[in-house]
Every structure is written in C-alpha cells, then in structure tokens.
C-alpha cells in the first residue's frame, strides 16, 4: 500500500468528519484517521489554522465540525488531484 500524502490525509480527516454528520469528538477522529497522535495533532492544528474545521463545545465536550472552507476542500478535492496529475506537478 502506498504512503498517503499530505493532501490525501487532509482529505481523509475531513471526509471522516463529514461522514459523521459533521460532528465528531477528537479521539474517535484520531482513531479513524489512521495516523499517529503527534501527526494527528499537527494535522488538526493545521486544519484549524486554515479554517477547514472548527471546535464546538456541546454539553462540556469538544466536537470537531467542518466549516464552509472545509466543505469547499472536499468539493474541489478531485479537481485538485486531476490538476496535479494533468500538469505532472
């Protein structure tokens, strides 16, 4: 199995959140993402910084939710991949 790239991991994490009705706690997200804890923290921080996801507090628990930009990424993901492939970049 080939190693997942940064773009693919980002897509996988966002897809997990979307599949979970846009509402998932950090621990199950880490488990389903299939990346190490340190890498997961790195990715989550990056997604938060880029504004792809937000943290929401419900009944004292933290949930990760997708933002408009996060949904935008998922929508454009195949276009991004096609573009990279087409131009050999």
């Amino acid at each position: 199995m080939s190693k997942r790239g940064r773009l693919e991991i980002t897509h996988d994490i966002l897809k997990i959140i979307q599949k979970n009705k846009n509402h998932i706690k950090p621990t199950p997200l880490l488990r389903k993402s299939n990346v190490s804890v340190s890498r997961f923290k790195e990715y989550l921080n990056e997604l938060l910084e880029k504004g792809f996801v937000n943290k929401s507090l419900e009944k004292g628990k933290i949930f990760i939710v997708l933002t408009e930009k996060g949904f935008g990424f998922l929508k454009k993901y195949s276009t991004i991949l096609d573009f990279i492939d087409e131009f050999g970049i």
Binding site: F73, K76, T79, G88, I89
Partner: protein
C-alpha cells in the same frame, strides 16, 4: 526580364511589410502572453489556497514570473521601436541615465530565467533533496545569468547562456518524464514553452537574429500559452 525581376522585388517588399513587426503586433503579442499568464495564475488561486500544494505554488509562480518578464520584454521592445535603437544598452533617458537600459534588461533576464526554473521545479521538486535551499540556488543562478547578460555585451555569450539554459531544461524534463513514465503529455508543452521562451530571449538580446521568422515565434509562443491556459481552465472549471 527586368519586369520579372521588378515584380519579384515588389513581392519581396510586400512580404517584408507584412512580416515586419510594428508596435501594434508587439502590443497584441505582449497582451496575449501577459493575459494568459495572469489568467493561469489567478485561475489556480482557489485550488492553491485550498490545498497549499507546493507543486501548484511553483507552477503558479512560474506564470506570474512569465507575466512580469513579458512585461519587461515588451517595455524593451517599445523602447527600441520608439527610440529607434538597435540595442537596449543604447537607451539613456535624461532622468535615469545610462543605467536604464541595463537595469531593464537585468530585470527581464532575472524574471525570465526564474520562470523557467519554477516550471521545472514544479514538476521535479519532489525528487529534489534539501528543498529549502533549491529555490535560493535558482534565484542565485538567475541573478548570475542576468548579471552576465548585462556585463558581457556579446551575442556569443547570450547564445551560450541560453543554449545552456535550454539544455538544462531539456535534460530535466527528460528525467522527469522518464521517472513518471511519460504519463504527462504536458511535458512536450513544457519543452516547447522553454524552447520558444529561449527564442524570445535571443530575439531581444540579438537584434535582427530571426528577421522575418519573428512572427512565427510570436504565433507559436501565443499558441503554447493558449494551450496551457485552455488546459488549466478546463481542469479548474470542470467540477
């Protein structure tokens, strides 16, 4: 007999008039290339902002640098046409003095070399190690190329530099297409882009080098940029 020769000469003269490139052609050519480059740069903005993908970043940078380089190229052409000069080094307006020509040429050469390096780097950055320093290296090489062009005012030096640049480009594209098993048809376009870019540079550096072949270079260069723009817009606007 003399009538035949006369008619032949008139025909040649007319052909020369058609193929002589004036300000209008230069404006049109510059406008097409700068517009295509900027459309590619801004058309891929959203994809880059979403993905932060480095290959996309270098690809976009290449076209931004092409746009800047072509702007300075057209500036040089206008100066040559309006001031009725043969070489940009002869240009010395009142306010800027003798350095105006060399500085314009330096900027043009720096940005055009960097544009080619960015295109090559976008296709090869993954296979290159110590990525952080690669770009500094390319900037330094471009700076040296620009400096050599200004310092050594010799057509053979210009030809040498550009042939070397072209050989590096051909070699890099060949290695890259081999690594990716010739999967990307666009490597041929990149190759043509580099070739015609070098011809454009020679056209600026060595006056009268191409003579009537100049219009052909303009047409093919525009065609290459149109092809890339078409492919970009097709991909970007496809979904």
């Amino acid at each position: 007999m003399s009538v035949g020769i006369g008619q032949g000469m008139i025909g040649m003269e007319r052909m020369g008039q058609v193929l002589t490139l004036g300000v209008g052609t230069e404006i049109m050519y510059s406008f097409i290339i700068i517009l295509c480059s900027l459309m590619i740069y801004f058309g891929t903005k959203e994809l880059y902002e979403l993905s932060s993908y480095k290959g996309l970043k270098y690809f976009r940078q290449a076209f931004l640098f092409f746009a800047i380089a072509y702007f300075f190229r057209s500036l040089i052409k206008f100066i040559l046409i309006y001031s009725n000069l043969r070489e940009i080094f002869e240009f010395s307006p009142k306010f800027f003095g003798m350095m105006a020509g060399p500085i314009t040429l330096f900027i043009f050469m720096y940005f055009s070399s960097m544009a080619i390096f960015y295109i090559l780097y976008s296709a090869n950055y993954k296979s290159m190690k110590e990525r952080k320093y690669n770009l500094y290296f390319f900037h330094t090489i471009s700076f040296i190329i620009a400096l050599f062009t200004v310092v050594f005012r010799n057509p053979f030096v210009y030809l040498g530099i550009n042939v070397l640049l072209l050989l590096i480009t051909v070699f890099t594209i060949y290695i890259s297409s081999k690594e990716k098993k010739g999967k990307h048809s666009l490597y041929k376009i990149y190759l043509l882009l580099s070739l015609f870019w070098v011809l454009n540079i020679i056209d600026i550096l060595i006056p009268g080098f191409f003579d009537i072949g100049q219009i052909l270079i303009y047409l093919i260069s525009s065609g290459i940029f149109f092809t890339i723009l078409y492919k970009v817009l097709k991909k970007v606007g496809s979904k």
